[in-house]
Symmetry: C2
Subunit: 361 residues, 2 copies
Amino acid sequence: MISGTGLQIASINGKFNELAQKRLDNLTKPLGSLGRLEEFAKRLVAITENTMPVLDKKVIFTFAGDHGVADEGVSAFPREVTRQMVFNFLNGGAGINVLARHAGADVVVIDIGVDFDFDPSVSPLAKGGIKGGLFVSRKVISGTKNMRKGPAMTREEAERCIHAGIALAYEYSKKGYRIFGTGDMGIANTTPSSAIAAVLTGKTVSEVTGKGTGIGDEALKNKIKVIEESIVLNKPDAKDPLDVLSKIGGAEIGGIAGLIIGAASKRIPVVVDGFISTAGALVAYCIEPKTRDYMFAAHNSVEIGHKIMLEKIGLRPILDLDLRLGEGTGAALAMLLIEGGLKIYKEMATFGEAEVSEKGN
Amino acid sequence: MISGTGLQIASINGKFNELAQKRLDNLTKPLGSLGRLEEFAKRLVAITENTMPVLDKKVIFTFAGDHGVADEGVSAFPREVTRQMVFNFLNGGAGINVLARHAGADVVVIDIGVDFDFDPSVSPLAKGGIKGGLFVSRKVISGTKNMRKGPAMTREEAERCIHAGIALAYEYSKKGYRIFGTGDMGIANTTPSSAIAAVLTGKTVSEVTGKGTGIGDEALKNKIKVIEESIVLNKPDAKDPLDVLSKIGGAEIGGIAGLIIGAASKRIPVVVDGFISTAGALVAYCIEPKTRDYMFAAHNSVEIGHKIMLEKIGLRPILDLDLRLGEGTGAALAMLLIEGGLKIYKEMATFGEAEVSEKGN
């Protein structure tokens, strides 16, 4: 049970794995020859406990938040880009809009911690018929505090971020969405993500810290120093994921963790995007390890700490395309492959139907 | 110039790479943060010499052929499966049909060397509204001869296979198709593919020979021995790709090589599927190295010789999903990612359009 929520995450029922495997092994192809596509189909069957899962409604949740630690010169971009990109998401012009349209997924943009007061009635600003994101306000904070000078958030704020994510999962489950993808937007947010990665995996800060959106070598040294000092100052307790999230995390990372917990409790598969999303996934996993069984790791990011977090959770990424944008872009692409696996499972002919001879001796 | 065809393959014009890069660098994302998606877009611009390429009509060519060497017990499946699978392709029930539909691509099934007389009027046998493949007869042979006892084909037959592939590329270019994918069907065809891989890369047979559709350890030993003996007997000349293709190759491999040569001469991007398709691509590359610039490597197959051939050509695979089915299945999936890259390039907003601040100092 997740403390303070009353919600339960169930283990995967092996019976559904077996049912899916039986069908896969009877399709007109050599056993196991569609590799991970077969794995995706099997996992969808087991997660949904439905031998004919449906993925008709897909959604990417792009959580946006600002970071006080941006004052420390850890990012190549100015802080106002967070709110500017939120408008870009609503206008349909960002990478996530393009790839979500390609994957047939909706985009929901959540202000959970942006340092800007959006007009709550702001809505998709379709230009020339292009579909943009839907704006949802779940504001917990107007940016985190600078973690180099003290905790990024209070424990209560971190809890509220997680609960906001859980509530969104419930709401979109009720709306009939069948698969979720996670995404993020927040200038400087590779910094708290690396901090979380270091504390929750036990690696050194240097081992999990990269150049984010493209800082130079000197700025990287500074970024590592800022993270190290923030950890020394705040003393996050590695055994208490909420303590870690509040002291050295971010609002969007908490929202992503909550969304994953909510998805798992509703038996909805959730595709985890890149570095920042995986920091959220790692928080969710440390709160409740069973959440892992509901996650798909979209891709292997260029950020060096990503692989280390995926290994800690126990996930193998689907794609490896040198992506490092975030927003949910990798999740949208991975959804296309997961859906391809499901179609193989549902639409291929069996040996009997197609009158094809099976393997000989 | 490709001997006997009069056709020319042009080098890629660097100017188009620059034009594409300029646009990519002005989109609302950190420089290069969409990794290989940006590479795909750039290559499409350079290949087509069009700054706004269109991929509205896509097609996978699944070349089918039989192999005399199947008599040597090198495959887990009986020989009649080749023709049975052709009917499965026409009925829309095979893996390639499912994934091509997912990618919005048509499937063209070519009898270039099947040991069966198809009714030439056989056409898509849609069942329940499912879209199947289109049948095209370009029969050069009714299966290769057993290469363990002599050459698989005559040099003239091998040439005719390549010309059949070139002619298909021309025909489908004329029909308005904008991107091609390659695929194969042929029981025992990992055997000639491994033989080609060994001769054209200079590796030992053991280094490039795997279990194909799923033979056991003993059968693998036999398969390696059969390939080694076939090479010793036929003495293919590694400097003469047509000699290699005819003596130890297959009709579908020649068709694929020809399709790639034809695509390159028409400036059409071609997505090369797995192990067998890459053997064809390697033959095309050895005939004319410039063909490489028009190829996308769909995925990294489980077959151990695949990576070695890709390295020889100089291609980095897009996907790594443990696939080993062939038919064009990996090519169909990779098309979805290539198309995603193109959409990023064409549909994302620029910094100016979206009023987003660019990178600071």
